[in-house]
């Protein structure tokens, strides 16, 4: 299994134009993702966003609440209407005391495909192998269950060593 890449697929029962708008319109993207952007998305643009709790899921919104207002930048790469949307970001960059700008980014790509059953959305995120270990550990310690997860991580690692 790759340690550099994540791939996710989900079937959406909605018109393609609707799905595209939810990705490409910065306000709509922010609504389900849990961010607020200062401007419309455009290829090559550096978007300054802040974390706002999502209005789509109250449970997730509660988890995001403590990060409310945290700045979070993403750089748009490609926008091919109703086909492909991609950007770069710093995964888990929610610590306001850390300057992430010089660190490597991961690339997130959303692609849309017509199928008989609906729109197949594929998300890939690549580039994790270049993310510093410190960030990886912090990803676990950033949430409530963080410490437990670090220990679990170490225990599992040893079980496979």
């Amino acid at each position: 299994m790759s340690t550099d890449r994540i791939e996710k697929k989900i079937l959406l029962h909605a018109p393609k134009a609707r799905v595209w708008r939810a990705l490409a319109d910065s306000a709509e993207f922010g609504t389900w993702f849990g961010m607020k952007f200062n401007a419309p998305f455009a290829p090559g643009a550096v978007m300054h966003g802040v974390i706002v709790p999502t209005s789509v899921n109250p449970e997730v919104a509660a988890a995001q609440k403590k990060y409310e207002g945290t700045p979070f930048d993403i750089t748009i790469e490609q926008m091919e209407p109703e086909r492909l949307f991609s950007f770069r970001w710093h995964p888990g960059a929610v610590d306001p005391n850390v300057d992430y700008t010089r660190e490597p980014t991961t690339l997130v790509v959303f692609s849309l495909e017509d199928t008989a059953d609906g729109i197949l959305l594929t998300v890939t995120e690549t580039g994790f192998d270049r993310i510093p270990l410190e960030r990886r550990v912090k990803a676990f310690t950033a949430n409530e269950q963080g410490w437990t997860m670090v220990v679990t991580l170490i225990r599992d690692y040893l079980a496979h060593a």
Binding site: V137, A139, I154
Partner: protein, 110 residues
């Protein structure tokens, strides 16, 4: 998941070494990869230098950290091989994407 007796014992000592919040905080502090002095490891923690040294010794015994001297100073470093499992990190990010995509689905299908 089966492991040998030796592995179980090794796991147990590491698990014990990490069963303490101060020690977990030291792991995170050291996880940048550099070697740090006792003074910088103690900074900001409600524990004395002597206390931190004791914690580090427990961690050293478990093979989690090692130390070397630079002049009069003792520098501590994480033995990263025992800490990383990049796949577990991806599992966490992967879960976050599952949640985000479930929200997207609800958003576009409503």
């Amino acid at each position: 998941m089966r492991s040998s007796a030796a592995q179980t014992s090794r796991s147990a000592s590491l698990f014990a070494a990490l069963g303490d919040e101060t020690r977990l905080r030291l792991v995170v502090r050291l996880s940048g990869g550099g070697a740090l002095s006792i003074a910088s490891l103690t900074e900001g923690l409600p524990v004395t230098r002597q206390g931190i040294t004791k914690h580090l010794q427990v961690m050293e015994h478990a093979g989690l950290v090692r130390n070397h001297r630079r002049g009069r100073e003792s520098l501590w470093q994480l033995d990263q091989r025992r800490l990383t499992d990049a796949r577990k990190y991806l599992d966490l990010i992967s879960k976050q994407w599952d949640d985000a995509l479930a929200r997207l689905k609800r958003f576009v299908e409503e």
